[in-house]
Structure formats: C-alpha cells, structure tokens
C-alpha cells in the first residue's frame, strides 16, 4: 500500500482547445487508406453512364442491341428501366431519362467486366435525338411565352419562398439612403478530389448494401429507396473514406441508383465512378441566383429595411440548390439589425445543370450581396464601414425578425478584433485617397461579415444524433456515432471529447461511424452542425459512462463518487489527483463481480431548436455565429489580376475544441471562398459546360493562398459542447464580398457578378477610366 501512496498525483489538464491530430491522418499520409474509389469487390462489375450531351431533346430512337452483344457486357439499362422510379424533393428526377432536360442527363447505363468494355459498349449505343428549344436563364424561363419544360410545373416554377416582416413601403419612405443593386452569383462546383463513386450489391434476401460517399446516411436511405422501388429499411449504407464532399453528397444523384439498378439486374456488385470530366458535368453545382436587393438606412447609419427579390436557376431537376432561400432569408433579415424585411424567392426550371448544397449553402450568395451593400451604404452615410457595422451589429440576447435567438452574439467583438488587427480604418482611407492617383498597382482593403447557423438547422423533423459508447475490459473506448467523417475532422473532435471526459489516452478511443446497420441516427454533415451536435452527443454519452464508472468506483474504493475523477487512465481523487485504481482494473472488477456490469451506454441528443416551419419564424438553430474577414489585396489595374496579400479573420467559435482542426477548417473554407471570388466559373453556353477540367476551371493553388491572421472569439455558447459553436461554413461565406469591397477600395470598381476574374476586372477598370473626364 505504500507504493500506492507514493504514486504521483495526476494533475487536472484539459484537452479542450489543444491541437489534436486527426486519427486517420497517418494512414492517409502513408497511402494506406482505402477510399471508396480504391475499392473492389470480388465479382464486381463496372458501370458507365451514357450522358445526353445536349440540353433539351426528345429521344427518337434508342438502340442498345449492339452494346448488349459486346462480350463482357452484363447489362444495359435505359429510361424504360426507370419508369416510375421518381426521386428528389419534388419527385422530378429519375435515374435514367426518357426525355433530355440537361447536358448530363443519363440516357443509358452499362455494367461490364471492365471500365474499358463498359466504355466501348457506350459507343455502340445508338441514339437519335430531336432537339427542343431550351431555357438557359431563369429570367427567360419566367417569361409568359417561355416553353413549358414540365407539364406539372406551370410557368416553369419550381420552389417558392417568402418572408415578410414590417412595412417596407413605410421603411423605405423613412430611409435617408437606399442602395439598390442586382447581384448574380454564378455556377461553381465542389471539385472533390475523389470523383463521385458508388458500389452497390444486393444480397439474396433483396437487401441492398451501398458503399457511398454520402454525408447523410439515414435520410439517404429514404431518398434512395424510391429511385429503386424498394423500402428504405432494405438499404444498408456504408461510408468508406471519401475524397471530400463539401455538401455535394447531401442528396441522391442518379449514378447511385444506377449502380444499384445495374447490381439488381446482374446480381453482382457494380461500381460506378466518374472521370473528372464527368464529375464536372454531372455532379451538382452551387446554386446560381439573380438577387435584386435593396437596403436602406437613416442619416445616422441605422439600418431601416432590407428587401430581396431572388430568382433561382433551378436547372433541370430539384435538389438542395433551390431550397437555399431558407438560409438566404435568415441572412437577409439577420445580417445586422434589420427592422423591416421583405424576402421572396422563386426557382425557375431551366435546361442547365442543377444545384445541390455546397458549403455555405445560400449564404455565400446572400452575403455576397448584403456585405457589399453594407459597404456601399457606409460610404453614402460617410461613416467608416467598421463604425457603421458596429452601430448596426446585434448583441447578445436579441432576436432577428425570424426569431433566431442570438443568445451569445459576438459580432461587435469580431468586428473590433478584425478591424484592429488589420488596421482597417486607416488603410481604407489611405487607399481610397490613392485610388485615382497614377500607378498601375493599387492596394485595397475590404471588410465583410456574416451570420450563420452554428448549432445545426432544424430543417428536418429531427436535428438529433444517436451515440453508443462502450468501455471494454482494457479501458479502450469505442464510440458508435451517427456522425459522418468526410475529411472535416469529427473523428478528432469525438476522440478528444471522449479522452477529455474519461481520462483515457486519445489513442485508446475508436470511432465507428460508417455503417447504417451499426451506427444510430444522424441527419448528416451539413449546416455546420457536426461538432455541435455530435460533440454534445458524444459528451453526454461519455458522461453517462463516467457516472457509471465512478458509481462503481465508490463501491470498490469506499470514496464518494462526487469526489472522484477519471484522469490519466486512473480513478483519482479529484481534489489532489491521487490515483486510486487503474481504470482498466476497475472495469475488470466491475465486469467480474457477483453482479457483473459492462460499461455500454446510449444517448440520443436532440438540440433545443425549433423546426423551420412554413412561416420561417422559428429559432431553427441551437446557436448562431458571426465571422468578419478583412481582405487586403493588390490589383494590377491593367491585367485585372488581384493578388490577395493577407486576410484577417475574426470568428465567434464559441469555444475552441480542436485548435488544429478549427484552423484547418477556416483555411480550407477560405480557399473555397477565394476560388469563388476570383477564379472558379462553370462556363455554360446554352446549357453546355465549356470548361470541364482543372485546366480551365481554376481552383486556388498553393502560390495563390495568402497568409491568414486568425482571431478566435470565444463567446461560450451555453448550448454547445464546452461552449463551442459550429464553424466551418462561415469562412467560405465571408471572404468573397471582403475581396469585392477591397476591389472597390482599390479601384472604384464595384462588381456584382462573381468571379472577379482578371478579364472582368480589367474591363471594368478600363470602362471606369474611360468614363472619367
């Protein structure tokens, strides 16, 4: 017993806010990780899809006989095999089409022994089309004389949303200044490095196992089932490691039911994987929009109203894209204190590619508008924008007109931190004064901010998560969680939280989260929700396990559970840290006693948020957060090239959980936002994509990435795990308008249609210079 008394005390230390390695990083860095794209099953066939390659047409003749005869071909499917298998939000999609409505429409699919044979078979399929007049802009589709693309959608009208608060006419009349502009956010796409891929296999009981990149395994079953004519319960979803998702895998897209239909027909596993060109053409886009926005304010700078009339290019089918008004209206009404709001949005069917969800969902587009109008209004009022923003910033305890409750609101702190760190106000004045002086290179600084849900978003009936946690006889912990890992790092967060609560080494925690037959319910990786929701679920489960362990410890040690704690793999006295028993030993004692017990707990966490609802008046997220970006740029006024010199970020993160993961999410989110702002652009000509390759669709590369100065504001969210808020969409949302505002500061050019690509900028500057005397 003397030895025990001499055991050194284990000090209390927290992992919260530390830098934690991603558990899967070593295998990824050594090339060992088997992504879905790397997988092959015995007997597996390869599926390939024949795309229409034209935007709107009737299929006059389709002959697959030669393809079927090709040796090595096991199945050929066409639209005839998919009649009635409607899926999607408004059931307007089928896995294989009988009418062509956009370039990438899937006309036929082949399963063959190899990709090469499948590709050859596609070439043998004869199709004759009768091209039909198309609609390539929502404005055209909305015209009274526009051709009707679908019988059951009069006026080509897809989804419609509206929210109104207060008397806009009165607010307009009472405004001293009004800005009125039309913004045109464009088509961009996710560009996951791992191309879209699914492997499907039916067992002889008729149950489908689908290996997929899906980032929402449970609702996915519900969405996939109608595309196959089977029950959601007959689908098992397995999520192998994926090469990125960013929202692109938040819905069912036709290649997935196609893989399953081919598997059903052949009785063998079938893998469908896109080439990069197919990925560009056939995977979802970010939702483009035409946003007519008006914002007003008083002479003293107080905002009076904001209205937005939004037209959305629905594309040929309805996925998440045209649902973005749900978030657009939250930003329109809640980005600063907006007393009067009028928002309406109408999606119009066209023959363009269609949009899914994409990191920043709707808010990238809206903030592009609101943050530029804030900058414009500040100049009209003649206030330093920073002062103007702070004046209108909402504070803790306030509501937005839609009843989003800003319990902890750190917008003003974010503004102050970013403004100070970047010396924003001084530089903005200085650069503006130099704007019209001679000189080819001009410096500019721009500030933008936004609000986003940071505690999930209750757009489904549930926004919850199930967690199962077990601690075995060796004190190894397994967490079985619904939370999907798509590269964002929830594995590190869950590991960290378990280690924090149970005092075990990080390496002793295993996460199982990739099989819908094992892991419990979750609504998926979206709405910046996973750290918040899964973090809470994990913490609650771990605390239940801890309570059970400490209860037993009380029994074995004769010391009150409240005075005990788990630390460093031991049960310790909380006050002094004296280790009393090794955790694994205690667990074995619990297991092998007369009334044996195992530590295995379950938890279901449902955040305290309200369903979105048809009125859109609800506190739909359990938390909200703000971020402010200040971009400093140098513009080559002749070539129009923008070099981003530095970005200052201040974001309300609630509480830092895994510092390294948090930084990584902000850096990566900004890179996507920079691409949106500067270079990425799907060049569509009458519905056909002209640049389906990385050669001409330009992602940000390493030399273009500027240094970032990051400031984390910790508002300590009462509802979040350890005070944390969701963080990963705001970085993508805020950066683009900060650059646009900086461009204006540098050159006097204000552009409403992204990207701010060199040619567009050069032309605008040339035009502006010509218009000056």
């Amino acid at each position: 017993m003397e030895q025990k008394a001499a055991a050194p005390a284990i000090a209390r230390k927290t992992l919260i806010g530390q830098r934690i390695k991603k558990p899967d990083a070593p295998d990824k860095a050594s090339g060992k990780t088997r992504y879905i794209n790397d997988m092959a099953l015995p007997q597996m066939l390869h599926g390939k899809v024949l795309f229409a390659g034209r935007p709107h047409a009737r299929i006059v003749r389709l002959d697959t006989s030669a393809a079927e005869k090709l040796p090595g071909v096991h199945a050929v499917l066409t639209g005839k095999d998919a009649v009635g298998l409607n899926f999607g939000f408004v059931r307007d999609n089928v896995p294989l089409k009988s009418i062509v409505r956009c370039e990438h429409d899937e006309i036929a699919a082949v399963a063959a022994e190899s990709e090469d044979i499948a590709r050859q078979a596609l070439k043998l399929i004869e199709v004759e089309y009768e091209d039909l007049p198309g609609i390539f802009a929502p404005e055209d589709g909305a015209r009274a004389d526009a051709p009707l693309l679908r019988d059951n959608f009069p006026g080509n009208k897809s989804l419609h949303f509206a929210f109104k608060h207060g008397d806009v006419a009165a607010a307009e009349a009472a405004s001293d200044f009004i800005v009125d502009s039309v913004f045109r956010p464009h088509h961009v796409t996710h560009c996951c490095m791992g191309t879209s891929c699914a492997i499907a296999d039916f067992d002889d009981n008729g149950k489908l196992t689908i290996w997929t990149q899906s980032q929402y395994p449970y609702n996915y079953k519900m969405d996939l089932a109608p595309a196959l004519g089977i029950q959601p319960g007959d689908i098992r979803v397995i999520q192998p490691p994926v090469g990125g998702a960013f929202g692109s895998k938040l819905d069912v897209y036709p290649y997935e039911p196609i893989a399953a239909l081919l598997a059903k027909k052949t009785g063998r596993p079938v893998k469908v994987m896109y080439s990069r060109e197919e990925e560009f053409k056939a995977s979802p886009t970010r939702q483009p929009a035409v946003i007519h926005m008006r914002t007003g304010c008083k002479r003293d700078g107080a905002l009076t109203f904001r209205s937005a009339d939004v037209l959305l290019d629905n594309g040929a089918y309805t996925s998440w894209g045209p649902t973005i008004p749900v978030i657009m209206m939250r930003t329109t009404s809640g980005h600063y204190r907006v007393p009067v709001v009028d928002f309406k949005a109408q999606a119009i069917y066209t023959n363009n590619p269609y949009a899914g969800s994409f990191r920043g969902y709707g808010n990238v587009q809206t903030t592009w508008a609101t943050a530029q109008q804030m900058d414009m209004l500040a100049d009209m009022v003649d206030l330093d924008p920073l002062e103007f923003h702070i004046k209108n910033a909402q504070k803790s305890g306030e509501y937005t007109p839609q009843k989003s409750f800003l319990r902890e609101c750190a917008l003003a702190e974010c503004l102050e931190a970013a403004g100070k760190a970047s010396d924003y106000s001084r530089k903005r004045k200085e650069y503006a004064a130099l704007r019209e002086t001679p000189g080819r290179y001009k410096k500019g600084i721009g500030l933008a901010s936004s609000i986003h849900n940071a505690g999930g978003a209750k757009i489904h009936k549930s926004d919850g998560i199930g967690t199962i946690l077990k601690v075995d006889d060796y004190a190894r912990v397994t967490v079985i969680s619904g939370a999907s890992e798509i590269g964002q790092g929830i594995d590190a967060v869950i590991t960290l939280i378990v280690a924090e609560e149970l005092g075990v080494p990080l390496e002793h925690v295993t996460l199982v989260n990739n099989d819908s037959d094992i892991a419990p319910w979750d609504v998926g990786v979206h709405a910046s929700r996973t750290t918040f929701i899964a973090g809470n679920g994990t913490r609650r489960a771990a605390q239940k396990a801890k309570a059970q362990i400490l209860q037993s410890a009380e029994k074995f040690l004769g010391e009150a559970a409240e005075t005990l704690e788990l630390r460093g793999g031991h049960v310790v006295r909380d006050a002094c840290g004296t280790p009393l028993i090794k955790l694994d030993r205690l667990l074995r004692q619990m297991h092998f006693q007369d009334e044996p017990e195992l530590v295995m707990v379950t938890d279901y966490y449902e955040p305290k948020s309200e369903p979105e609802g048809a009125s859109h008046i609800s506190d739909h997220s359990a938390a909200y957060s703000h971020a402010v970006h200040v971009a400093e740029i140098t513009v080559d006024t002749l070539t129009g090239e923008i070099e981003v010199d530095r970005i200052t970020v201040a974001q309300d993160v609630g509480r830092v959980i895994n510092r390294m993961g948090l930084e990584g999410q902000i850096e990566g989110g900004i890179a996507i936002g920079l691409g949106y702002a500067l270079s990425e652009n799907m060049q569509l000509e009458r519905g056909l994509l002209k640049n389906p390759s990385f050669r001409d669709y330009k992602l940000i590369t390493a030399p273009e990435m500027p240094p970032l100065d990051m400031h984390f504001i910790e508002s300590d969210c009462a509802e979040g795990p350890y005070g944390a808020k969701g963080i990963s969409e705001l970085p993508t949302i805020v950066i683009a308008p900060a650059i646009a505002n900086a461009l204006y500061n540098a050159t006097g050019v204000r552009l409403f249609d992204p990207p701010l690509a060199p040619e567009k900028v050069a032309r605008a500057i040339a035009d502006l210079r010509q218009s000056r005397p």
Partner: protein, 288 residues
C-alpha cells in the same frame, strides 16, 4: 480505336528515323501532351507508337561554334536550371519558370512542346525571340538526313507544322546572343504557372545606348500559331526606345495580333494584354 501493333523505344536516331520512314508513327517523349490528347479522343494513335526518350545524343544543352544547341529531349526543368541558359538566354529560363508544374516540367521536352504546335506553347515564344531554328531528321538513302527550318516558318496552323510525318525534330539551335542582348518574357495569369497562356509576349534584341537592334518580338495565343510580330519589330528596329517609339510599337501590335474569343479570354482582353505586356517588356528593356 486504333490498335497499336508496334511499340518502339529506340536508343539511336538511326533506328527511330528508319521506323518513321517505314510508316506512320506516333512519336512521344514525356507524353504530357500526347497522353491527355489521346485519352480525351482529341487525337488518335498510329499503329506504331514510338517513345524517343531513350535515344542517345538527343538531349543536353551545349555551345558549339557560337550556337546554342538544345537537344529535343531536354526537359523544361533542365532548361529552367541550366547554367548556360541562365547566362546566355535567361528569357528561355524565364519561360520555363512559368511552364505548367514541377511534375510536368520534369518530363515535358522542348522538342515535344514545339511539335505540339499549340498557339499557347510557352517555350516557343522565347525561342522565336532568340530566332531559333529546328533541325529535322529523316531517313533517306541509307542514312539520316537533316534539314533546318527557322522556327518562325515551322508552324502552319494550330497543331500543324511543316515537319513531314517521317521527320523527327532533333535539335533546337540559336546563335549565342551577344553580351548586349536583352530579352523579356511575360505570360498572363494570376497563377505563377499551371496556366495555359491567355497571352504571352516575348521581346528581345541588342540594346545599347538606348537603341534596340535586331529587335525580335513574339506573341503567343493571339493567332492560330505562335508568331513573330513583324510590324512591331519594324517600328522598333534601330530606333531609340523612347515613349514615342513604344507608343508606335503598341499601335503596330494591332496588326500582328489577331486574337479570337474562346473559353479562356475574349479577343478584346487578349489585344489589351498584348499591349500591356509589350509596353511592360519594352520599358524593362529600356530600363536595362
């Protein structure tokens, strides 16, 4: 799809030239152009595929009799880092600096970049400024025969050259520039590299006492082929490089550049960039 019945990886020029004399051969070195072009279906293989990367004596950079000779197999990376090029023709190293990516520079050959005959070929522009010629080898009368073609006359249209099917480009040659030679290369794009040039402009000549002699100007991506800007050269030749002459050169550039609209840029922007880059390059030369 064409079946490939023969794959050759000759070690000697004789072998290669004989194979090319015997029939249609698809030639490649690094494969960085051929691979994507054939994968996308933009180009077909011949029945005979020949990798010339192993031919001895077709690589390397040397100075001989006042000429700089660059073997066709020399990679862009070698040019980028070569001390002789850095000393006598830094304009070529400058273009190599902005060529594709490290992984492509490590394998893409100078000969391949020329034979690919893209209007945007980045190594071609500085070679036009250096007034380079290419040597073409073919097999006739039991021996390798060679002829030399000025690079300026080599290109006929996009992806087409005067090189006959049985000819192999072996060497790029240019006179070693005199000590007062000044050259400048500029291509567009916010990225330092990994960018198909929207426009490239090269300017060179012997510059002393404020006067540019043997002025040579080349444009890329503004016409069906890379070209020498002869109108600009006439304006510049032997003149004191002052603001008036530079202004006149910019006006003359409109007669040389005949750009089109495409997915990468409009004709307006290309013409605009030609003027911007030409002015920039001429000011650099003047400041030298």
């Amino acid at each position: 799809m064409q079946e490939i019945t023969t794959y050759l990886a000759p070690r000697s020029l004789n072998e290669a030239a004989q194979a090319m004399a015997a029939g249609d051969v698809t030639v490649f070195c690094g494969g960085t152009d051929l691979a994507p072009q054939t994968e996308s279906g933009a180009r077909q293989h011949s029945a005979c595929l020949m990798n010339i990367r192993r031919i001895e004596g077709l690589g390397g950079i040397e100075e001989k009799d006042g000429d700089i000779r660059i073997g066709a197999l020399t990679t862009v990376s070698e040019i980028r880092r070569h001390p002789l090029i850095a000393r006598v023709a830094p304009i070529l190293a400058e273009a190599a600096e902005h060529f594709a990516s490290d992984q492509i520079r490590n394998v893409a050959s100078i000969g391949g970049n020329i034979c690919n005959a893209s209007p945007a070929g980045d190594m071609i522009n500085p070679l036009l400024v250096l007034d380079a010629a290419v040597e073409l080898a073919s097999w006739a009368d039991g021996a390798v025969q060679k002829r030399s073609v000025p690079l300026e006359n080599f290109f006929t249209s996009p992806r087409r050259t005067v090189k006959r099917a049985e000819e192999l480009l072996t060497t790029v040659v240019f006179r070693k520039p005199a000590a007062d030679f000044v050259g400048r290369f500029r291509k567009s794009g916010p990225r330092p590299a990994l960018e198909i040039s929207t426009v490239s402009v090269g300017v060179g000549g012997n510059f002393s006492a404020g006067v540019l002699r043997n002025a040579r100007v080349a444009f890329g991506s503004v016409a069906p082929t890379p070209l020498r800007a002869r109108h600009v050269e006439v304006v510049l030749e032997g003149r004191r490089l002052d603001a008036d002459v530079i202004g006149a050169a910019l006006v003359a550039a409109r007669d040389d550049a005949r750009p089109i609209d495409d997915v990468r840029a409009s004709a307006w922007y290309r013409s605009h960039l030609v003027e911007v880059f030409l002015e920039e390059a001429l000011h650099h030369v003047r400041g030298n």
